[in-house]
Amino acid sequence: MATPKPRVKLPKSAAAGEVITIKTLISHEMESGQRKDKDGNTIPRKIINKFTCEFNGAPVFSCDIDPAVSANPYFEFNAKVNEGGTFKFTWVDDDGSVYTDEQKIDVK
């Protein structure tokens, strides 16, 4: 399986006070820990267990993720932007890896 790759889509600019839609997706197998391999051994759980979004350091959205969430978890949410700045996105893997992405937005 390829290395998890985060992807984020949001507008490059917005009007002050506008509510924008943010779409996020990370490629990840989300192995639930419930399956067994050919020899009957449990395949260890390996999922993204936490996702957060911050804007200029302030929390915007966060959630814990459980094994029932399917592969390549996709989150779409809205945020109101009053000033320009940077969105920071963080995905935390069971193995301790942290995947991040940043996107700037201009406010006119």
């Binding site: 390829a2 889509k9 779409k23 997706l25 490629s27 390549n72 996709y74």
Partner: protein
């Protein structure tokens, strides 16, 4: 007495509802992927009983259609990204990747897949993208052919076909003996097989637009393959052929066998003029 009449009237209403044909026509919408409109309806090539050939996209639910219209939301795009990795990965004894010879696929593979299957002069049979990849791997990379439906094979095929997104399907049947393979494919298409005694045409020609239980039958076009199916992820064309044949309870032909290559040629031709949609999103 009144109650009895009401019951009779209700019974009649139920019966007429059950008897009316379960039609669910394709929608009258334009397919726009990332703000670029691509052809999802085209004049049918001569010899088809349809006036128009229609992309399977027109037969899907609004939510499914929306997934294909935004390449960010299209789950098949993950395979395109994976295919790009495979494209750039060195494999085989010659130390080459696809990119070593073909450089940037965005330029060298643009529009290519819209003209496949082609005639393979060496093998004297039609060749599709999967077999072309295998040929390249064996002859130029010193690598082995992929096992059918290997993850890399599907991803790389998706990546290569995606470079033709929007290009209209157009086959040159004058190459080699393609015309006789087209005839054979037509035979396969119209031959009823299996315990259910169904031909491809029974569903995708005679009953396109109708419901078969919970499934909305499309014309069965090949222009969006490999396609992302909501129920089982990325599906290659020959996997879909095999699944369809299995569902008629017939013996399932091998992928890339003569029968299925002839069928791929013929079914692809039936979609002449439709834009390549790889990776399409279907249910």
């Amino acid at each position: 007495m009144r109650n009895k009449f009401a019951a009779v009237a209700f019974g009649v209403a139920m019966a007429s509802a059950a008897l009316s044909p379960a039609t669910a026509d394709p929608v009258d919408e334009k397919l726009v992927i990332d703000d670029v409109e691509i052809v999802s309806r085209a004049k049918a090539p001569e010899g088809l009983p349809f006036d128009e050939v229609l992309s399977g996209w027109l037969y899907r639910e609004a939510e499914t259609r929306a997934l294909e219209e935004d390449s960010f939301e299209n789950p098949g795009m993950l395979a395109v990204e994976r295919g790009e990795e495979v494209w750039n990965t060195v494999d085989g004894s010659q130390g080459k990747s696809c990119a070593s010879c073909h450089n940037d696929a965005a330029e060298t593979m643009k529009g290519i897949a819209a003209n496949y299957p082609k005639w393979d002069v060496d093998a004297k049979r039609p060749i599709n993208i999967e077999l072309q990849i295998d040929k390249c791997r064996i002859e130029n990379m010193g690598a082995e052919a992929y096992k059918f439906n290997a993850e890399e094979q599907v991803a790389l095929t998706t990546y290569i076909k995606h470079q033709s997104l929007g290009a209209p399907v157009s086959l040159d049947l004058t190459q080699g003996e393609l015309q006789s393979w087209w005839d054979r494919g037509k035979d396969v298409y119209y031959t009823r097989t299996g315990q259910l005694n169904l031909a491809c045409a029974s569903c995708h020609e005679a009953n396109a637009g109708k419901m078969i239980r919970a499934d909305h039958l499309s014309q069965g076009q090949a222009n969006g393959f490999p396609t992302y199916r909501l129920k089982d992820g990325l599906v290659s064309l020959h996997q879909r052929f095999r699944g369809c044949v299995r569902d008629t309870r017939a013996e399932t032909p091998k992928a890339f066998s003569d029968d299925l290559m002839a069928l791929e040629l013929y079914v692809t031709w039936r979609g002449t003029g439709l834009a390549v949609e790889t990776p399409a999103v279907r249910h």
